[in-house]
Symmetry: none
Subunit: 221 residues, 4 copies
DNA sequence: AATGAATGAGCTTTCATTCAT
DNA sequence: CATGAATGAAAGCTCATTCAT
């Protein structure tokens, strides 16, 4: 009787059916509301209002609340992981790659703060049922990629070897996340216009992270 | 006709009215349930069951769900901030104090993981209405104390001066938090019995944090 | 294990056990609260607070809410009916007796407004279960007594014969009640000090009632 | 995302949005249940069942119980006051107008007894919070209109001048109300089929009221 | 007698989900 | 596709009643 599937998004051949504009609006709205209020606090009514769409339409495009939020998760993780992979597989030293990771996340944050919050904060709070198949693995994947960067940096003598890569990766992402949170909450008052302020955060964070991980003898880039 | 106030908890002199045992049980249960499911997902019925107490008793001691969770917040923050203050005002170098902070939080985590999760995770997710008067300030306070430690370390030449203390403090706490989250989610698989594993995390984290903040010339402790 | 019966109030012989002071306080408080908020709106907690007595004590003296409120009803009606009977069986013309009825109710109102409200207003609103054995009959009794006065006045040629006595009696009591309500609500603003104001109401009401009922030829008293 | 406002009910021009049928059903049901059981005794579940409507729909159209009952109040008072105004401003002597008032209320009672009970009985019992803005004023308004009729009758020499109009008006409405109550409770047993019985009540009441208020010299109509 | 903590059924309110249009 | 009224299960809150002290 209509869509309602996970939307593989592309057909296999010929005529590419474009994603309906309103479906997109709902998904975007869901990201914001979800980020703002969390899984249980996010009401379908809120999403519909935020998307400026009729109540019932949400159920036209998504089976139910869970499927909607799962889509949100999936989409955001897909983007993040793709980016991390690109950085990981690209050229450059471990230090450059870590700087790239910090930079990317903070850049995303500049244009879509809620997207970052969804990824970082909802990981542990969202019911397991929902994340089934998506989050724990994907979160692990994200941490894993960063850990890989670190591991190879250790192997190449660029980063200190006494740290467990996974643990270090988690710490780096956590540092990123909480710094952004501080920004959201106004702890770090913008001494400069927001745009530049965020760039300053980016630099400092990268510096701190690198200093924390770099091998004693290694040179600054 | 009964309690139901915010319970300033301490009198000024002589006859200290002891906190009713069941009130305490409810508060403890609330910490756990709250940590587990977040603000909106936490049902009064769950708290009551967890505390092995009748439904209605929760409302005997607390006005409503909000007041209960606010009490949880207040209590946890009070404990954490007192500990941070003690470390801040105690003796030792900045490095030792930062190590102390990491150690304390991870130690608390060993005995009461949910308490830590409430503090760290609920900060941004809990409705503003609820946190009014409690969280934003208290969170800021906690960050502020750590930032002070860092600032004095910078002034004493022990820590690098190019980092904004508040930002660095947030990053440190974030690194702590996400590492613990990783532990919870099983990302960092215990290579050793849990107890020792956590101690290993403590060491590595402290090492990383210190390396990230220490001034180039400073010696290892 | 204690009182808790309907309290026949007097023993049969010798040693008269006096009604406990606090039982009385509860009963009085109940009259006020009941009058103020009606059956469903009247909480045991309110009664206890109003009586400055511990919550549980109410249940020491009364089986349950119903028994308490039934006692209130019974007591008030007993008083009212006794007074009406006394007037009815006393000397005087029908006109004098009707004046007496108006006067009595308004006088009671002066000292215990809530008692009057209980009698007059709760009649139709209180659940049948509660009034069982008390109200419908007693209310009917009260109306009946006034109707008797009217009937005898009609038979004696003093009052007009075209009115159904019961109907007329109800109307008289209703006029009384609503006037008092008007007073409570401040519709009839006291042009004089409360005391005198009420006396003025008494006169006017009696005059109006008598004029409404008196036979065309009958003289003013 | 829907109705839920006080429903000003009438637009100014062209396309009149009709009141949803079910909203109306709920309001009607509420009048009955409210009349039957009073403010505190009236359960939303009862209203929904009586209106043959799903529980939740009540909350679709009304914010909460208070708003629902306030709407009931407002509607009933609006009707009554409009009718009283029409009588007041229409032609006829004061006596005819008073007869009209009695007749109107009793006629309404014939078709919608509960409506009358809501107006007359709930005035003093309903919590102040609820009536705020609606009842005290409107009740005063109703009494005021009747008082105006009386005042003008006094000025025209038709009615006795020694009675305070407001007081007399309250008494008249009270007589009406209690008579109807008596009818409800079966005090005045129908000597005739209900229909005629009520008409007999109407006549007797009007006669009594007029006799009570008419100036000594004035002729019978 | 007196107290007030403790219990839990019942009612209000919310909100995911369905359905007629 | 789009809409929003309609439904009802689940969660929050109240309060009569019991019970240990």
């Amino acid at each position: 009787m209509s869509p309602r599937q996970s939307r593989p998004s592309a057909g296999h051949a010929a005529v590419e059916i474009p994603e309906p504009e309103k479906r997109r609006a709902i998904l975007h709205a869901a990201v914001r509301v979800f980020a703002e209020r969390g899984y249980h606090g996010c009401r379908i009514a809120d999403v519909a209002r935020e998307a400026r769409v009729a109540y019932g339409l949400v159920y036209h495009y998504f089976q139910n609340k869970d499927e909607l939020l799962e889509s949100v998760f999936a989409e955001q993780w897909t983007i993040l992981i793709a980016a991390l992979r690109a950085i990981d597989e690209g050229p450059g030293s471990a230090a450059e790659k870590l700087t790239g990771v910090c930079g990317f996340i903070i850049d995303v944050y500049k244009t879509a703060p809620s997207a970052v919050r969804v990824l970082m904060l909802e990981v542990t709070r969202t019911p397991n049922a929902l994340r089934a198949g998506s989050t724990p693995q994907t979160f692990a994947t994200a941490v894993g990629i960063v850990a890989d960067v670190i591991r190879r940096g250790q192997e190449g003598g660029e980063l200190r070897r006494d740290l467990e890569p996974v643990l270090a990766a988690a710490a780096v992402l956590g540092a990123l996340e909480m710094t952004l949170t501080g920004l959201v909450m106004g702890l770090v008052r913008p001494a400069a216009p927001p745009e530049e302020e965020i760039d300053r955060v980016k630099e400092q964070l990268a510096a701190m992270v690198l200093a924390g991980l770099r091998a004693p003898g290694a040179r600054d880039p």
